[in-house]
Symmetry: C2
């Protein structure tokens, strides 16, 4: 029977310089035993990617995306060669591969390509020769042999997709934090590392602002049921396991709290309350290239209603321009906007079976005199948009009331 395979992914901060590369190599060699095989995925060294982007920006304001991929992919190629050297230096056999060499086939959407297929032949062959395999993350190749990159969170995605392709028993994501926390430890000192969390909960936390992993790779891990282990490259401590079902007898109601300050709110007042109006508004905004997050429309009175929605702060100018145009066309009332908002969310699969969780959240906020501006809920989360200056106070109170301090 083939040995079980562990996939380990090291981010840019884990390979930021020569000393860290050596430490990573040490770690890889410690994991490699007679009983298992290792496939490693690495990001580019520290600031390499930023440096390359800056270089390109000096040459062209809008560099062609195909050439950006050609340029950017060198970052991971450098780090995988260096890590392979460092592993060999420790006496283990190792071999590095680019995305193209491994056979990470993508579509041709340069700078944010989607993986279509993974040919794991080169990896399997190297593993059979008892080599440690080091793969350049973040990159792939089209069927026409064009180099592509996978966009944000691309190296995580490479790791998860490879773990699926070679049937790895676990995919370890090494990062500069110890794991997933009940909330941001910079806000709440009592925040605790979560031992185990479900894909659904992690996805919800990630999309609501927890920044450890991109939702994209968690989705792939969920689809193919690849257990993820998010842990620190600077300590031997166990981190957080992200799995299909946790081992707990009963889900706890709330597993984590997120706080996201990246959004701004736009409100269109006095919109006619008739079919097709919302569709027209959001079609125009989408055409302007703006992603809308939460949308809230309340029942109207006097055949009029207000529609509020949030967009990324970085998209606010674009979004306002499009909104004003459509508001004028539809003869609505005023268009308001507010940058000083924060989204506070509670997340937990237990909400499905525990009642009164949302009510407890609202009550807690009320007790701390935090005014709620907008509310949205999903199956396993409740989010409130509040004034940004009250965000820390709100998170601290909720963290305490939902017993996350242990």
């Amino acid at each position: 029977m083939a040995k079980p395979i562990i996939v380990q992914k090291f981010g840019g901060s884990s390979v930021a310089n020569v000393d860290r590369i050596k430490a990573v190599a040490q770690r890889i060699c410690e994991t490699k035993t007679k009983k298992n095989n290792i496939v490693v995925v690495v990001s580019a060294l520290g600031d390499t990617t930023d440096d390359l982007v800056e270089l390109a920006a000096k040459i062209s304001e809008h560099p062609p995306e195909r050439e950006m991929d050609m340029l950017m992919s060198t970052g991971e190629q450098i780090s995988c060669a260096l890590v392979a050297m460092a592993v060999k230096e420790l006496g283990h056999d190792a071999v590095s591969f680019t995305g193209a060499q491994v056979g990470i086939l993508t579509d041709d959407t340069h700078t944010k390509a989607k993986i279509q297929k993974i040919g794991a032949r080169a990896i399997r062959k190297a593993l059979k020769e008892n080599k440690i395999v080091i793969v350049a993350g973040f990159q792939g190749v089209t069927k026409d042999n064009e180099i592509t990159t996978l966009g944000r969170g691309g190296s995580d995605l490479t790791a998860v997709a490879l773990a699926f392709a070679i049937n790895a028993k676990v995919c370890e994501i090494f990062t500069d934090v110890e794991g997933i926390y009940t909330t941001d430890p910079r806000i709440v000192r009592e925040a605790k590392k979560i031992k185990e969390i479900t894909f659904d909960e992690m996805l919800e936390m990630a999309s609501l602002g927890a920044q450890v992993m991109q939702p994209r790779s968690i989705e792939v891990a969920r689809r193919f049921n690849i257990p993820l282990h998010v842990r620190s490259s600077f300590s031997k401590e166990e981190g957080t396991m992200i799995v299909k079902n946790t081992q707990k007898l009963e889900d706890i109601s709330v597993i984590g709290i997120t706080c996201n300050k990246a959004e701004a709110k736009i409100t269109i007042c006095g919109v006619q309350d008739k079919p097709g109006v919302a569709a027209e508004i959001f079609t125009q905004i989408s055409k302007a290239g703006v992603m809308v997050d939460t949308i809230v429309q309340n029942v109207g009175y006097a055949r009029q209603t207000d529609i509020s929605f949030t967009v990324l702060k970085s998209d606010l100018a674009k979004a306002l321009k499009a909104t004003n145009a459509i508001a004028e066309k539809l003869k609505t009332g005023e268009v308001l906007h507010d940058k000083n908002i924060a989204r506070i969310s509670i997340v937990g699969s237990g909400m499905r079976s525990h009642r009164g969780v949302a009510a407890k959240m609202f009550q807690t906020l009320a007790e701390h005199e935090v005014n709620i501006d907008m509310i949205t809920t999903s199956d396993i989360s409740v989010s409130c948009i509040i004034e940004q200056s009250q965000a820390e106070k709100a998170v601290k109170a909720l963290h305490k009331v939902f017993n996350l301090e242990g």
Copy 2:
């Protein structure tokens, strides 16, 4: 009929920074007209290659050569992507290719691979679409999809080999000098740019110390009769054409003078004058990994002779160790060595038909009281090993006496 193709190769100093990359792009766009197509080969930006070598050295004293190729090849990938961006910025369509993408198939001798075949399909397709093609120099790929590099002078070789594969009318080598000079202008201020030189003469000059181009790519150009144009990337002046036969009615006797201070001399005294001795000596030295250049053995007397030879100064210690060992075994006389030598050579196809050229050289040296230590000749060159401190004086005198000042 297909448009004629010009291959342009830009070295590391030509693309050392963003401003130079933009200047190179400008130059490429000026060359690209409705009447011809352009294929560009670029080296890595300025010091990139040295930086990568240094990085690897910090990780391993003897980094594996396969991983070195993986690492080093990123340098040219970066520069070709940036040049393609800069060309596009000027409104021309351009596309960059790695060695692997172009199909530069090599053997698997990592860090000094030999080109076996060039598949020009990707280039032809791009040229048909009226694109300017930018190729990463110095690199190739094995049939097993392993990345290789071509060793010293590798980017020149890429350019010449591509020029052959796509049947280019000329291969322009852009460098930081204006062309090939009658001698080193730093030694003789009156040195003149040579307008036209034959492959044979250029090869002789290069192997005798002229450093503008590596002999390797000149040999390939000669074999396939690819005219080379060595010129400056900083000026519009015509440089030096390297061709099969020059246009001159009669060859001039001496076209250039070289001076090489990289060698050291070893003499084994009192070697038995019998068959097989020289073979044994040089077999042992070769086994020690030392390349021997000139060997001089004079007729002996009393059944003994002295054998002198030159090696690179950097190999002297290794060479002496091997020489002393074999000298002891053969019971020869003393082993002497001298680092303070220079090789002064005169080169010219005209020597084949002009008599007295060597004599004139020796006479000139004698008149300037330069003692000649060793002499060797080839079909189109005469070399004298002299004391290093007299090299400048010798070159100046010879440059004048052979009418190279114009």
